[in-house]
């Protein structure tokens, strides 16, 4: 029933295609579609209206510049406006202070606890912080337990007081604990609350008052509808938060709520959550997000992700082996593990420009490598190092051992040979390939 925003815009731009210039008449239909698309993307209806009015004004103003095609011009205007709406340049998180205190806030089920874990992990590994998590959700069953489990997963201690039902006290005690134990960063998880719940809103305002945090993050589900503006405004009025976190962006929502919130409360979106794994956290980049919404792909994020997970040592070792034509199944396996570390394959593929739409109905399984891994694991160490050893009987044994067929084993060997050949070629012509940076 619903096309995503980029598909819709693509289609509405097609209407403009072949037209000589942008006029009041031919832009009207396009703008109507843009507005519909924005509404389907859950952009607040008022903001959608303002947005299309601005786009129209700009489009008509550029009437004379007919050097480029009208549809391309429209893409540019819509894209620029979207990026502008979402807030210009990216803003980093403030971690100055001893300890720097980050207070989480938001509705029930927006993903505060999961995000607290991700943020702690990220600041620990990227900024070399020594974080402490504090469990101040004293209401939801097992909320404290949840944070503890996450803390254990990421190797970050969790401060909690099981018997204490006063989150303000717990937060204050957590600061004292952090100071005493040399933690330079404290992330305070709080209970989910509705903006109209007077008592709970007073409580979080009191927590803020008591601990004076460096950052207050408002966590919001990216699937939120029209109500996002009300909630964001209410939380902002009470807490004057410093940033927004957009969660569950690994879903297929277009995240129009992000645009709405950003323009209603004028606070930067600092992070996005993109999965259930503790690594699934990203900085928010308005331009990239606009590009992504418009189906222009997100190659920058892809490259960054690749660099992050890339083990240079390992790469150098493999390169050496390739040069000597010694690349074997062990190395192949290592490469697969590297790719897997980068996360969900479909997400990765969707970041490639132009792939977003193509990927929509393609079913890439996360266990795409499972068969290959099973086959390699069914090989003896000698076979892995010397693929030439693989004869008919050995192949049959591997097929049986991995629960695959001899055809699949043959296919794997063929693929492996192909990769090997290609790698040699790339190495020889190494300098001719464009650098990523």
């Amino acid at each position: 029933m619903f096309e995503n925003l980029s598909e819709r815009l693509e289609r509405s731009f097609k209407i403009l295609k072949g037209q000589g210039k942008i006029t009041e008449i031919n832009v009207a239909e396009t703008l109507k579609d843009v507005r519909k698309a924005l509404l389907d993307a859950d952009v607040n209806y008022k903001i959608a209206k303002t947005f299309t009015d601005t786009v129209k004004e700009k489009a008509l103003g550029m009437n004379v510049l007919t050097a480029i095609k009208p549809n391309e011009l429209m893409v540019k205007i819509v894209r620029d406006e979207l990026a502008l709406l979402m807030g210009g340049t990216s803003v980093d998180i403030n971690t100055k202070g001893s300890p720097a205190v980050i207070l989480m806030s938001g509705l029930q089920g927006s993903g505060k606890t999961t995000f607290s874990g991700k943020l702690a992990k990220m600041l620990k590994s990227k900024k070399g912080k020594n974080p402490l998590l504090a469990a101040c959700d004293v209401y939801r069953p097992a909320a404290i337990e949840q944070l503890k489990v996450l803390g254990e997963q990421i190797g970050v201690p969790v401060y909690s007081e099981i018997e204490n039902k006063n989150p303000i006290q717990i937060a204050q005690n957590a600061i004292a604990f952090a100071k005493k134990n040399g933690h330079d960063l404290l992330i305070i998880d709080t209970a989910g609350r509705l903006a109209i719940d007077e008592q709970m809103m007073n409580e979080i305002a009191a927590i803020k008052q008591a601990i004076q945090p460096q950052e207050i993050l408002f966590v919001v589900d990216s699937m939120t509808g029209q109500d996002a503006v009300n909630t964001a405004k209410e939380f902002n009025d009470r807490l004057d938060f410093t940033g927004v976190v957009l969660t569950k962006l690994d879903g297929d929502t277009r995240g129009g709520a992000a645009l709405s919130i950003r323009s209603v409360v004028d606070k930067p979106i600092k992070f996005v959550g993109t999965g259930e794994k503790m690594e699934a956290i990203d900085q928010f980049h308005p331009e990239r997000m606009a590009d992504r919404i418009l189906g222009m792909g997100d190659i920058v994020s892809l490259v960054e992700k690749a660099q992050e997970q890339y083990d240079e040592e390992e790469a150098r070792r493999v390169a050496k082996k390739i040069a000597k034509n010694q690349f074997d199944f062990n190395d192949f396996m290592g490469q697969i593990q590297q790719i897997k570390k980068m996360g969900n394959l479909k997400d990765l593929a969707a970041m490639i420009p132009g792939m977003g739409k193509a990927m929509k109905d393609v079913d890439i399984k996360d266990d795409a490598f499972k068969g290959i891994e099973a086959m390699i694991q069914s090989m003896t160490p000698a076979e892995r190092e010397n693929p030439q050893l693989l004869n008919g009987t050995r192949k049959m044994r591997i097929a049986n051992g991995s629960g695959t067929s001899i055809q699949e084993v043959n296919k794997l060997i063929k693929q492996f040979d192909g990769i090997r050949k290609m790698m040699r070629m790339v190495q020889r012509n190494g300098n001719k390939f464009p650098k990523l940076k």
Partner: protein, 314 residues
């Protein structure tokens, strides 16, 4: 609805209070649009469109409602505010799928145990809804078994166990990371052995575009059928009342994987309007059975569409 009369009065108040914000926005806008006018003109319809869009009703459904009203305006020539409100109410009620039974009545008709599988994306309130449902069954004198098949999210099993203690019903669980289908199998087996009336299976939240996770749901369902061939008797999709148009895609994908039989809309005690459910119920012909109105175990109410629309439009 009489079966749950033990809380109906209180809960009606909660619903009214929760939906009060909704009422203000939709109704006041329409009223404002119509004030000082003797008949419905384009401006009124524009305002109505805005009001519906602002309640997450969505473009398609809004346009359909407007179209039908436009047609009636054209046919009847003259129409005042009261008439417009009446027609609007009726149009929306017509879009909501018929729902004549509740789970409790159903349990009496089917064999024992009656199996309910609860699904949805992350953070919509599946576990909380299960706690509340268990409480209702328990209050009605039914024996209930809960299955902790969310073996993925940190402390999800503990969360369900706490609900089990509160409501005083047994929770069947395995370790975190265990196969959810196996937990479901265990739960139904032991409920059956103990002649329990109802089984409710909690599942991990999953985004509907994760193909593997959706397959996992189908698998859980298939495994249930090894114990009881007709299970699950109900698949309840829990939707967050503040979700926007993405709820459509959720309904579509979950229906594809598990044949949803009923909807529950949560968090309607906030300012969210839940208007998206109108279009979903219409398109997929799935009835809304329950609405969640808070965090306490009594905060679950049977969905009454007339009352819902009444509260929505005043």
């Amino acid at each position: 609805m009489g079966l749950f009369s033990f809380f109906s009065k209180d809960k009606k108040e909660t619903l009214d209070k929760g939906l009060a914000k909704t009422k203000e926005s939709v109704f006041s806008k329409i009223t404002r649009a119509v004030v000082g006018k003797s008949k419905v003109d384009d401006e009124v319809l524009d305002n109505l469109e805005e009001a519906l869009l602002a309640s997450d009703v969505g473009v398609e459904t809004t346009l359909r409602i407007i179209e039908r009203i436009e047609k009636r305006v054209a046919d009847d020539k003259y129409m005042n505010t009261d008439e417009l409100n009446g027609i609007l109410k009726q149009e929306i009620i017509d879009l909501l799928a018929e729902n004549n039974t509740d789970f409790l009545q159903d349990t009496n008709e089917e064999g024992k145990p009656y199996v309910i599988m609860v699904v949805g994306v992350n953070g919509v309130g599946k576990t909380t809804t299960i706690g509340k449902l268990a409480y209702q069954f328990k209050q009605a004198g039914k024996s209930v078994y809960l299955g902790a098949a969310d073996t993925f999210r940190a402390a999800a099993v503990e969360q369900l166990c706490i609900w089990g203690e509160r409501v005083n019903v047994p929770v069947i669980k395995q370790k975190m990371g265990a196969d959810p289908a196996s937990v479901a199998f265990d739960t139904i087996s032991s409920a059956k052995a103990n002649n329990a009336d109802v089984v409710i299976i909690d599942t991990a939240g999953r985004l509907h575009n994760k193909v593997n996770l959706m397959h996992e749901l189908s698998k859980i369902k298939n495994v249930m059928q090894k114990v009881i061939p007709t299970a699950p008797h109900e698949v309840l999709l829990v939707l967050d009342g503040s979700t926007g148009q993405n709820a459509f895609e959720q309904a579509k994908q979950f229906t594809k994987a598990t044949q949803i039989t009923a909807l529950a809309i949560t968090k309607l005690d906030g300012t969210a309007k839940g208007g998206v459910v109108i279009g979903i119920s219409d398109q997929f012909k799935i009835p809304v059975k329950y609405i969640g109105l808070g965090e306490k175990m009594e905060d679950l109410q049977l969905f009454d569409k007339t009352a819902f629309v009444q509260s929505l439009l005043g």
